[in-house]
């Protein structure tokens, strides 16, 4: 590509003096047009992304009669905050919330512990066959979960784990290829001298892991915790096949169930429940925005 580059010809500077004024104003015109187009496009796209939020919040505050009005009402009158209480009264939103935390909290702990351990084994301990086995870890990244879910269901049924949270929680204690990959990347970036110094002092590998590496890995572990939290909070397929007792439903399953079992007239408080299910994720995002963006970018770039 570089070979095709041609240098500007000698003639250009000579012409410049006579055309300077008209050209600079033309350049400015283009620049203004460019930024009008740029921000116009951005605002138009933003409208598409924001619209569902506005609609969701507006619907969650409507009175039943306002739901079917056309053209749509944007600001309900009166604003009906009561829908949010109705979500707790009409459908057991408090139970769903507790259940979701019962799944999510242990899953986050499991993911952080297991993946840190495994990633350390792949990233900072030298052993024969290591890279070869790591290749297998990466290969399982593309294994679709739909291939394995029937035998998994049968295993958990055999163990009498159906209608418990164990099928959702226990696997998180056994490592996930995506998180192993992410943490290994991070561990390998830490200087080797840290471990060498401790090894000279006779520290065991496990001790180096817990005393030296883990404290340094806090930002990466936070990314894992964050992603696992979102994953467990949002999970629908797992609860759908492993939980049939309504008292055990998680938020996702509970809301989907409300949507299909209560009709049109109840849509406002179902939307209120939906808003509340999204809220923790939004709050989390604003607290950990940088972590999200860096974590996501990291996974994509190194892939």
């Amino acid at each position: 590509m570089a070979s095709k580059l041609s240098l500007p010809t000698e003639a250009v500077p000579v012409q410049r003096s006579s055309n300077q004024r008209s050209r600079s104003s033309r350049v400015r015109g283009w620049r203004i047009l460019g930024s009008v187009l740029k921000y116009g496009a951005l605002l138009l796209c933003s409208a598409f992304f924001i619209l569902p939020w506005v609609w969701m919040i507006s619907t969650s505050l409507k009175n039943p009669q306002e739901l079917s009005v056309y053209p749509p009402i944007w600001i309900p009158h009166p604003i009906r905050w009561d829908n949010y209480l109705q979500a707790f009264r009409g459908a057991d939103f408090a139970t769903y919330l507790t259940n979701t935390l019962l799944v999510t909290v242990p899953s986050v702990i499991g993911a952080v512990l297991s993946n840190a351990l495994v990633a350390y084994g792949f990233g900072r301990v030298r052993w024969p066959g290591r890279d070869w086995i790591f290749g297998i870890v990466l290969a399982t990244l593309i294994l679709p979960s739909f291939v394995t879910f029937i035998p998994l269901y049968l295993i958990f049924r055999q163990l009498n784990w159906i209608n418990t949270y164990l099928p959702l929680v226990i696997p998180t204690f056994l490592g996930s290829p995506f998180f192993i990959f992410l943490l290994r990347q991070f561990f390998m970036g830490l200087p080797e001298e840290l471990s060498d110094a401790a090894r000279v002092d006779g520290a065991s590998e496990f001790r180096i892991f817990t005393q030296i590496i883990l404290p340094l890995a806090r930002p990466a572990l936070a990314v894992v915790a964050l992603f696992q939290f979102i994953g467990s909070w949002n999970d629908y397929f797992g609860p759908l096949i492993y939980l049939s007792d309504k008292a055990l439903y998680t938020i996702s399953l509970g809301i989907a169930n409300m949507q299909s079992s209560y009709g049109f007239m109840n849509f406002a408080w179902i939307m209120a429940a939906t808003c509340m299910s999204v809220l923790p994720i939004v709050v989390l995002f604003f607290f950990a925005q940088r972590m999200f963006i860096e974590g996501i970018a990291l996974t994509g770039l190194k892939g």
């Binding site: 951005l42 084994g121 949002n234 629908y236």
Partner: protein, 301 residues
Amino acid sequence: MARFRTITRRESKSLITGLLFILPWIIGFLAFRVYPFFASLYYSFTFYPILDTPKWVGFDNYRDLFSDQRFLTSLYNSTYYAIFAVPLGTVVGIALAMLLNMKVRGLSTFRTIFFLPSITPVVASAIVWLWMFNPRNGIINFVLDLVGIRGPGWLGSPEWAKPALILMSLWSLGGAVVIYLASLQDVPREMLEATDLDGANAAQKIWFVTLPMISPVILFNVITGLIGAFQFFTEVHVMTGGTGKPADSTLMMSIYLWQTAFQFFKFGYASAQAWMLFLIIIAFTVVLFRISGRLVYYGGK
């Protein structure tokens, strides 16, 4: 030859240490990946009603699949969805990332607006979009009405249900935008300046410099997007109550697979479907890698 020498005592000690660290993964890998993988292959050759034991039936399940109209419909629907949603998502994702990469004021606000939908619970967004697509008082047809277009029946119409799902899928592409944006910021500035000197216009710069430079990231996103598209499940399950209505027009392979297993309780037949899904995903991935061989630029690596 050297690879097969007996390992020294020091190496065997490090081997044990290494294996102890990865022990959780080994257990999970064997119990929750290897065993289920082969078990589902075995079940796919059996007749297996839920409360019975599997009986070997050879290729019967696979033969049945190709005369099963609903399976063929689901194959068509999933392919339709993937073929439109993945390229569209890729083009829009790159375009948005490029917009954000043009020295925009308020970059982090726009990035938040684009990104947030991608981490909202899928069930929540499915319910909101279901409500937005309502043909009579939904907001999408209201917006179309404003510009003088009479909106279709969307999820109530067999022709428009899949386009509706594809449109909705664009809402959650923010994760890809963030990845593309990060890779765009890694394109060396000198390279773009060099083409400036050469008098290249904006389109040429994008086509000859920017896109080749980010092509490995595009390939990664296309492949993960495709794998995801063929496993597209939650939105449809929530929006149609697990039915794939209207008239099976949103019956995806994953939905039919779920129905076969958990509504008709035919685990053998469902496993055969799972393997077809797997083979299709593998085939698409291999084809993409082949095609991309010449198109993707891996830099010095």
